[in-house]
């Protein structure tokens, strides 16, 4: 177990810069998720930590030691790949014991480690099988077992659940969280799925185009996203964004008039907001509730019924629209005019450049 820290990390492919000056401190035993849209560089960062990708600038430290010029072999890390990458010609037992055997670990010790990993992951029955005789979930478990037996300084996961079907993904997510509780090891986990990130992580690093946008706990990311990108990326369905202008700002309350009608109040601290300033209003779909006198007016465009919940897509003016998350028993017909109110605590204000200027805290 060890802390992992990235300082001024850069990666260039030829003239293209894919990782731009990333600083990240991952504490010993922390479960950190790197998340972002595809192509944001999160996997590249993981591969640089693993030593599979050369570092163009900055440094990677594992347990305080700079590992930039170390081969993967010397870094004592374990990595679980999206595609499992099991050795197809070896049984489950051989797959898990391969690195121990090559490292000339005493046979009894290796057997004990394999047994422990197999017990943790429920693989006891499958030890003599070949990977082709396993289901996707079992294969992914073997890949994790292969990581566990090595007692690595850190576990790296590269979208390990992306190849599994939805039900299995949820189950494996729970198992992964339990695994972390049980082992208490440093884990760095890459995914593009914000639900996975929110449920698994102690801290989440959100990346966009090779830049670290924000590194915070899931609750902080949800409640105080630093900018519009993070605000939209975290939370499902996405945060609604409406254009508006500051009408008045006084005593920690800001009144914003929306471009397509209606007025919204935001609670905030003292802020340098001047009347007339253009702002972008972020409202989470779950912060809206139907109200007869509601300030947000629109007509129903689409209703998605999910059982316990109903998502209502509302056209707001000619160009804008927003989504409202409502209880499953909410009924509305297409084209109906509906009115909503936003809880002042659930509204965020961003300036024209997308930076957070006021977060509605709960």
């Amino acid at each position: 177990m060890a802390a992992v820290s990235l300082r001024g990390l850069k990666k260039n492919f030829g003239a293209v810069s894919v990782i731009k000056d990333v600083d990240l401190e991952i504490g010993d035993g922390e479960f950190v998720v790197l998340v972002g849209p595809s192509g944001c560089g999160k996997s590249t960062i993981l591969r640089m930590v693993a030593g599979l990708e050369a570092i163009s600038g900055g440094e990677v430290r594992i347990g305080g030691e700079v590992v930039n010029d170390m081969s993967p072999k010397e870094r004592n890390i374990a990595m679980v790949f999206q595609s499992y990458a099991l050795y197809p010609h070896m049984t489950v037992r051989e797959n898990m014991g391969f690195s121990l055997r090559l490292a000339r670990a005493p046979r009894a010790e290796a057997a004990a480690k394999i047994k422990r990993a197999a017990d943790i992951l429920g693989l006891g029955e499958l030890l003599e099988r070949k990977p082709r005789e396993l289901s996707g979930g079992q294969r992914q478990r073997v890949a994790m077992g292969r990581a566990i037996v090595r007692d690595p300084a850190a576990f790296l996961f590269d979208e390990p659940l992306s190849n599994l079907d939805a039900a299995l993904r949820v189950q494996m997510r729970v198992e992964l969280a339990e695994l972390h509780n049980r082992l208490g090891s440093t884990m760095i986990y890459v995914t593009h799925d914000q639900v996975e990130a929110m449920t698994l992580a102690q801290k989440i690093a959100v990346f966009n185009q090779g830049r670290l946008e924000q590194f915070a706990t899931p609750a902080d990311l949800y409640n105080r996203p630093r900018n519009l990108f993070v605000a939209r990326f975290i939370g499902s369905p996405q945060m609604n964004v409406l254009q508006g202008r500051v009408k008045a700002a006084r005593d920690g309350r800001v009144a914003v008039s929306l471009a397509h009608g209606g007025e919204i109040a935001v609670e905030s601290g003292p802020l340098p907001l001047a009347p007339g300033q253009p702002v972008q209003v972020g409202i989470r779909p779950e912060a809206l509730a139907p109200a007869d006198e509601g300030a947000l007016v629109g007509s129903v465009r689409l209703v998605e019924y999910l059982g316990g919940l109903t998502m209502v897509h509302v056209a707001h003016g000619a160009e804008e629209s927003f989504v409202v998350q409502l209880p499953g028993d909410f009924r509305a017909g297409l084209g109906d005019t509906v009115r909503f109110d936003a809880a002042a605590s659930g509204v965020h204000l961003f300036d024209a450049g997308g930076l957070l200027v006021a977060a509605g805290t709960r």
Binding site: M79, Y87, H89, F98, L156
Partner: protein, 283 residues
């Protein structure tokens, strides 16, 4: 789907297909049938010009015994093995390593090196005849099996490397990365992770190279003079008498000489397995 299954074609096409298939098969096999038939004819048939008709006498045993008695064919076959087996081993082993390097490592001259291997295959070997003969003479390897082994190994390795490089490229790269992260050294990755998955490629290539080299006539003629190093293909000539062409004996010798590559194919057949990497990745 292309090609379209013949069962779905028009009836006329189907009939034409079914009729022409046996004809094509016969034309294809005719030379082999002729050689097999000639190998059991007596000398009288050939003197009478009965090349294609029913044999006048069946000299199966006499002919095949004569092959072994009147010519040192045993020595020739042994020479063929002494040449072919080392060539197969050397070129396949070199190709595995070179192919691995070309497929797995990214280095500056990688693609140029690869083109060199590919390009070497386009050199017509006839133009190498004089330089190679001179080279072996100067190295003192003329008229030795070693000379032939070295030349064949060098010449076949190019094609083998092309074949192996493409095969290794098609293996999931994550397997190699997973092993690296696990702390497995490069040699161990090559020997214990990649090599076991290359079994079908090694088997196919071995059969191919074995057949190429075993059937070589040209280089045996160019580089070998004495019986001591003569492989069986070139040695068959010895069965023709000084004044008489004993085609029945040459045919019998040819059949004997053709057996080892056939045996090689059946020996290796069980290694031609598809889907060896099944289960390695999601697939």
């Amino acid at each position: 789907m292309f090609p379209r299954p013949i069962a779905k074609a028009r009836p006329a096409v189907r009939v034409a297909y079914k009729a022409s298939l046996p004809v094509a098969l016969l034309v294809w096999l005719l030379p082999l049938v002729a050689v097999a038939l000639t190998s059991i004819r007596g000398a009288g048939d050939l003197a009478r010009g009965n090349y294609w008709g029913w044999p006048g006498e069946f000299d199966l045993v006499q002919n095949y015994r004569a092959v072994f008695v009147t010519s040192p064919i045993g020595l020739f076959i042994l020479n063929s093995f002494r040449i072919t087996v080392p060539v197969v081993a050397a070129s396949v082993a070199l190709a595995c390593m070179a192919g691995y390097a070309l497929a797995v490592y990214r280095f500056r001259a990688n693609s140029w090196l690869f083109f060199l291997f590919v390009g070497g295959n386009f050199v017509p070997f006839q133009i190498l005849m004089v330089p190679v003969r001179d080279l072996t003479l100067r190295l003192g390897l003329y008229d030795t099996t070693l000379g032939l082994i070295l030349f064949h190994s060098a010449f076949q390795t190019g094609f083998c490397t092309l074949f192996m490089r493409n095969f290794i490229s098609s293996l999931p790269h994550e397997l190699i990365e997973a092993a690296r992260v696990e702390g497995v050294g490069e040699w161990s990755i090559f020997l214990r992770v990649v090599m076991p998955l290359m079994r079908p490629a090694i088997a196919a290539l071995s059969v191919l190279i074995f057949t190429f080299v075993w059937n070589d006539y040209f280089w045996a003629l160019v580089l070998i003079q004495g019986n001591h190093a003569m492989p069986v293909t070139a040695g068959l000539n010895a069965l023709n008498g000084e004044w008489v062409s004993a085609w029945n004996l040459v045919s019998a010798g040819a059949i004997v000489a053709a057996m080892p590559p056939v045996a090689m194919f059946f020996l290796m057949q069980k290694h031609f397995i598809a889907g060896l990497t099944l289960g390695a990745t999601k697939g």
